[in-house]
């Protein structure tokens, strides 16, 4: 088992064959998707970038599920559970439960106004609502910036699979990363040709595989390990300073205590508020055909949260099964916990299915994220600042090319990144994207905030969040096997060591993104009061109250005059 992993170029042929088979299926599906519900013309952002805004409840469910629950789900969450336990891993469950009642309140309004006004991106909405090119640009650039590491995180998921199969050990950098390049090139090609239809179609394959793998894995765990023993093993490991013998040991969390209540709750809440600010979440929501699509999905998407929780427990199962986390390069990497759990305990063909689920699970969100980032660039940078008279055809063309550039950027990102911390990179993206929350969500209900105050609040939140995250330092520990014994060696310290920092003037650790958002809100409120006192012009609003309730053709728009205010005293539903 472990020895075969360490043997250079020891490739699992059966698992590789299964992986290649599913990859071929998905590649065919990706290109075929261009013909699915074929539009008259693919040459517009509505078609290429939003799938014609035509997806019903079920397609949207698969698309959002494939989009939000990514390779991050399959690799990083159980990895965090394996390494440090509940606070850095299991918070994903309350996070993905709390998010749905929240979006139930505001996302239907965003869908409606985007539908009424033809908005493709959240920054389009900001442009129309606040009449501010700079605020719109800030939202667009934040979206692109936050999406890049998120795409990189997906590629890390594919890498973990390739490494487990035995394709990661060659000393030659080019050969080592060749499979990743191939996967990436295929992804880029079908996204280019089919747009959002490609991930929507592939999501059906991905989700079926994931549900199958998880159900089998959980049944296996309950029979062969027993959940009582799994939790006992995890409790013991979390209470043991790790790595043993390290100069600066850390202790995991089995169940949060007084010291980590706020950390756990703030990670869950902050991540939940941030999730639907990501461009790729918005893209999937806006591709729905009806206003009610999103509310129905808010009720049925928790099915994926159940899956995520069970997956997280596989991190604990890997502890109980004494899974090796040493990669082909000989160093310990918690992200290999789940892939290795499958490799060591299941027949090759089933492990191959599990690897396929992870790899395809990375392709779906990567495609949607690159489309979303490309749409932001096209609509809010290219059309706004470079070519104001761009035709629909030009927009689609620019977006297609940009999606290639974005994916290539993510690839460079992943080849130069510390993989052990993929989850923290994603959380840093969360710090940034959450700073657009106030402008977008408050804007859906009220125009009270002044555009310049929102811009200042955003800037303060971005700077505070980034600086605070930078200042989180942790020892840079590399663990290798020396004569069969795990031996950690510290190589100084590194920055961006985690997503928690002491709340100002206290010792309580809180999710940095949430503290930054609080500062953001305080600045925006204070400056809005100042702007109002000075009677600073706030521009014109190109949306009308009725836009926030509009629905697809066949569902009548509210009659003029029946609207009852959208500020104080009105229930925002």
């Amino acid at each position: 088992m472990t020895t075969s992993l360490l043997a250079d170029q020891n490739i699992d042929g059966v698992a590789l064959t299964v992986l290649i088979f599913f990859f071929a299926v998905v590649t065919f599906g990706g290109f075929y998707a261009a013909r699915w519900r074929k539009p008259d013309s693919m040459h517009s952002l509505d078609e290429w970038g939003l799938g014609g805004r035509s997806f019903g409840t079920i397609t949207t469910w698969f698309l959002l599920g494939g989009d939000l629950y990514t390779a991050y789900t399959f690799v990083a969450v159980p990895a965090a559970m394996y390494a440090t336990g509940a606070v850095s891993g299991f918070f994903a469950v309350p996070y993905t439960v709390v998010v749905y009642p929240l979006i139930f309140v505001f996302m239907p309004r965003l869908w409606s106004v985007a539908h009424a006004k033809g908005y493709v991106t959240p920054a389009d909405f900001i442009r129309g609502r606040y009449d501010s090119r700079s605020l719109s640009l800030a939202v667009a650039l934040t979206g692109i910036l936050a999406t890049m590491p998120y795409i990189a995180l997906q590629l890390v998921g594919i890498q973990a699979v390739l490494d487990t199969i035995g394709l990661g050990g060659s000393g030659n950098v080019f050969v080592k990363d060749l499979p990743l390049f191939v996967a990436f090139a295929v992804l880029a090609a079908f996204t280019y040709s089919s747009g959002l239809r490609a991930p929507a179609l592939i999501a059906f394959v991905k989700d079926t595989l994931i549900y199958l793998v998880i159900v089998v894995a959980i049944i296996w765990v309950s029979i062969h390990l027993g959940f009582g023993d799994v939790f006992s093993a995890a409790e013991k490991k979390m209470a043991t300073p790790t790595p043993p013998g390290s100069p600066t040991p850390t202790i995991g969390t089995f169940i949060p205590t007084d010291a980590s209540y706020w950390a756990y709750a703030s990670l869950a809440l902050g991540s939940a508020l941030a999730l639907f600010m990501y461009p790729h979440s918005m893209t999937a929501v806006l591709s729905g055909s009806r206003r009610s699509t999103i509310r129905r999905n808010a009720a049925i998407l928790p099915a994926y949260s159940l899956l995520l929780g069970l997956l997280a427990l596989l991190g604990f199962a890997a502890i109980a099964a004494q899974t090796s986390v040493f990669g082909t390069d000989g160093t310990a990497n918690a992200q290999l916990a789940v892939p290795h759990l499958f490799e060591e305990n299941f027949p090759s063909w089933f492990a191959g299915i599990a690897y396929s689920a992870i790899a395809i699970g990375a392709l779906v969100p990567s495609a949607i994220m690159s489309i979303a980032a490309a749409n932001l660039f096209t609509r809010n940078v290219y059309k706004e600042f470079i070519n104001k008279d761009a035709s629909h055809r030009q927009e689609a063309k620019v977006s297609k090319v940009t999606s290639l550039v974005v994916k290539f950027g993510a690839l460079l990102f992943v080849l130069g990144l510390d993989k052990q911390n993929a989850i923290n990179m994603q959380l840093l993206g969360g710090v940034w994207i959450l700073q657009t929350f106030l402008a977008i969500v408050a804007g859906l209900f009220t125009r009270w905030f002044h555009k310049w105050a929102l811009l200042a609040g955003w800037a303060v939140g971005m700077v505070y969040g980034t600086v605070t995250a930078y200042n989180v330092t942790v020892p840079n520990v590399v663990t290798t096997l020396v004569d069969g014994v795990a031996t950690p060696v510290a190589h100084g310290t590194r920055h961006f060591g985690g997503s928690l920092a002491a709340f100002p003037f206290t010792d309580t650790k809180v999710y940095i993104a949430l503290t930054a958002l609080l500062l953001n809100v305080i600045v925006a409120v204070a400056l809005t009061l100042v702007m109002r006192a000075l009677n600073t012009p706030s521009g014109s609003d190109s949306t009308t109250p009725a836009d926030y309730y509009s629905d697809a053709p066949g569902v009548e728009l509210p009659a003029a005059g029946t609207f009852v205010g959208d500020e104080e005293g009105t229930v925002p539903v």
Binding site: V93, P94, P101, L102, A265, P302, L313, T570
Partner: protein, 79 residues
Amino acid sequence: MSDGSSKRLPTGVALTVGVLLAVPIFALLIVPIYAKDGPRLWGFPFFYWYQFLWVFLASGFTYAAYALILRARGERGDS
């Protein structure tokens, strides 16, 4: 229906919807109420099975809120 979805929901419905949506949020964000080991269920510490339970409950609460709004506005649920 031409009565229009822009009309304010009746106060009672709005309040109920608000409560239905708020309960799961508070049930999960007030960590001290569930950060404990016992009672265990099928080997799961309370901390873990409580959160799994809320995955199901939250789904039910959210669906109930959706159904209430549909009924109050006289809309049909199909698409």
